[in-house]
Subunit: 483 residues, 2 copies
Amino acid sequence: MVNDEKFVEDIVDQDDNFSQWYNQVVRKAELADYAPVRGCMIIRPYGYALWENLQQKVDARFKETDVQNAYFPLLIPQSFLQKEAEHVEGFAPEVAWVTRGGGEELEEPLAIRPTSETIIGNSFSKWIQSYRDLPLLINQWANVMRWEKRTALFLRTSEFLWQEGHTAHRTPEEAEERTRLMLEVYRSFAEEDAAIPVIPGRKSENEKFAGALRTYSIEAMMGDGKALQSATSHNLGDNFARGFDIQFLDADSQRKYCHTTSWGMSTRMIGALIMVHGDKSGLILPPRLAPYQVVIVPIWRKEKEKEAVNELVNRVEKMFKGKVRVKVDRSENTPGWKYNEWEMRGVPLRMEIGPRDVQNNNVMLVRRDNRVKEPVSVDALEQRLPELLEEIQKALYQRALEFREQNTYTTDSYDEFKQIIAEKRGFVRVKWAEDSAAELAIKEETKATLRVIPFDQPEGGVQGKCIYTGKPATCEAIFARAY
Amino acid sequence: MVNDEKFVEDIVDQDDNFSQWYNQVVRKAELADYAPVRGCMIIRPYGYALWENLQQKVDARFKETDVQNAYFPLLIPQSFLQKEAEHVEGFAPEVAWVTRGGGEELEEPLAIRPTSETIIGNSFSKWIQSYRDLPLLINQWANVMRWEKRTALFLRTSEFLWQEGHTAHRTPEEAEERTRLMLEVYRSFAEEDAAIPVIPGRKSENEKFAGALRTYSIEAMMGDGKALQSATSHNLGDNFARGFDIQFLDADSQRKYCHTTSWGMSTRMIGALIMVHGDKSGLILPPRLAPYQVVIVPIWRKEKEKEAVNELVNRVEKMFKGKVRVKVDRSENTPGWKYNEWEMRGVPLRMEIGPRDVQNNNVMLVRRDNRVKEPVSVDALEQRLPELLEEIQKALYQRALEFREQNTYTTDSYDEFKQIIAEKRGFVRVKWAEDSAAELAIKEETKATLRVIPFDQPEGGVQGKCIYTGKPATCEAIFARAY
């Protein structure tokens, strides 16, 4: 499209209407589209490239911990879902059912997997014979389906993409260790690659996975102060092992149940990237995940300038081939239009190359995050550009961390708690005596939920009373309104 | 598993029962398993690693031709499937239908995608406005479902993994060019990476894709002489553009229909790898796709030898880290058991390291394809080992090509044709006057189908009569029994 006008009609201000801002950015940046099937989404090439980069980073981290990928069937027999009582209760209302196939009614309806503990548990029971077969460490990248009434692109869609890891272990201790290890993998990915500071910790009984012994999560604060659960890791105890008869012969010749775990991260993470880093001009993508890390905008007015500019553009493009993800915008749009478009699409670094730059053997680099301009000599570029990308990566993390700290409150008064939740944005950290009824009452009264009981607790234990029940507090917990 | 016995009970001879051999190898090598849902399969880690390597190679080849990945919904409204008449007729009998979701009966049944021309066509109609938006070059890696009555692991399963490319173009010529380009991508992948010689060409009217103008395919000969269609590329003309209103405003200000293509390759290719290269001892994997390119087997008898052997094993492992996919088998099994296991699992090269090797600063390399042994000095290893892998890659291709040539017949007599098909294995190349009724008659009489009309035709055209109708031949065609 040749277009001299400003590319985007103004995007709504984040502070005025965050969810509208989010939707506009997702659509305008061509990350995703609504599908003709209600609640489903189309991930467009720019959004999918982001997902591919995320996959690559996460997958490499999994493989470093000896996890292997595999693939299990999309369809799960109804009877399988029913083998773990809490699990079926949790997921049955959200299931899509296949009832006809190949022109015939099926004898048993088949669920489109909402998650695969059951069908993978069935395989584990066949593959595992002896303690020598343990641990079994499997992951799959797959689509899953949970029929949702209210949907939002990336954040909550009926079909979404994710990875789900499933492991089986000899002892409860090993299962717990693996559950925590995978949470740490997610934490390091989120903080190092996605530049999103997260709070790792344990979920309450109310919020844990249907069928789990314990659920851990990493929680992140979005740009509007709401929480987003960014990944979860579940210690399933022997619940699924009993449901699916996953047993092994131990060294002492006793048959024992395995202890299993599962853990997942989804396309939701893309929603988090958008909501943590974006600003009023649109997306800001962390360099390690950005589909394009640098966009080059060639600039000339007169035809005779064109050749020299293009020569330098091509030289720089070649310099970084295979090393940095560079996009050269050679379209017929004006430079101003290109600046706006690639700012809106969140490319971390813009490189302007015009006739004067050619003369000075320079290029102009412009950071997306703080708009700071830096002329760099072509000779220094190969060193300076990757440095700058790392600086942006770190700056994004730092900015998000400061935002979270500025918007995290502590209080011992439930009245103040209610006031903060109603009038401010952010997290509230309180003393807590774990109590499901109190938790539900708070949700009812304030819409805030217990996001996580952070691993990071006061040394020597918590002193004082629970903010709601007045009972002796057992921990500190974080409450917030959440996605 | 500690096990001193020979790892595998003897695998059945390929010549005695090829399909039983195939099944045994798939199961014993732990490539895949049948799923509890009829017709579906579980791809085990070793099989999935093969798929990942294939994906990586194919995806890189796509991206070199400017294709971008995206993701479209799993579920397709019934009404969409019905918009292209031949398409729905072709696929409706194989569709699995979702009729319930979130506890309610759906108003319109949703098909699990058997292929995505329709749902992607719907998006294309929204994304394409002007000729400047063309060509649009999209691919997705996804699962699809076609309800199959008779299934075989990798070759024909109700759910399978594949990639499906979808493109839209301004002119019929550009669409045809892209259709042929993608077939060429598949050919080069098959021959260079999978070491499978293939015959590229056009499908007959009977065998073309439901809704296509023309279908091209690459056909490969399996170890039993049967044909396997390994990938297809379809020129869809404006059939889907008319069904889904994919129009663009051309430079002459006229609204015109796009010309679209689609093209796909699936987990079937893993079946081809097994059936082309395998032998009576099991799999033989081409080095470029093998999950492990080299397996190191440490050998010692006395405990005091162990340390020196391990030192060299670790040194060699480190030497190739990040360069060659090396597996060190440190299990407690005997060396003989390990040889059998890794031969059966098709690792291209085995490296034996024992006390004498340590003394001589040597390792012993043993090729899987021809069992030739070669002692290599440790100092020469970094150079020699990658060379050997390339030699194996080429030898596998060459062997498969010779096998195909030895088992390809030509004849002008239909009686002889019938005799070849009944008594021999392989391809029969004949003169042909394209005629769908004759093609169906031949299938009925011999079970052989027209696999492909090769691009490679006699210079100056075909002289003589059609083998079946006696009409003047228009081309040469290849018939065979097929998977």
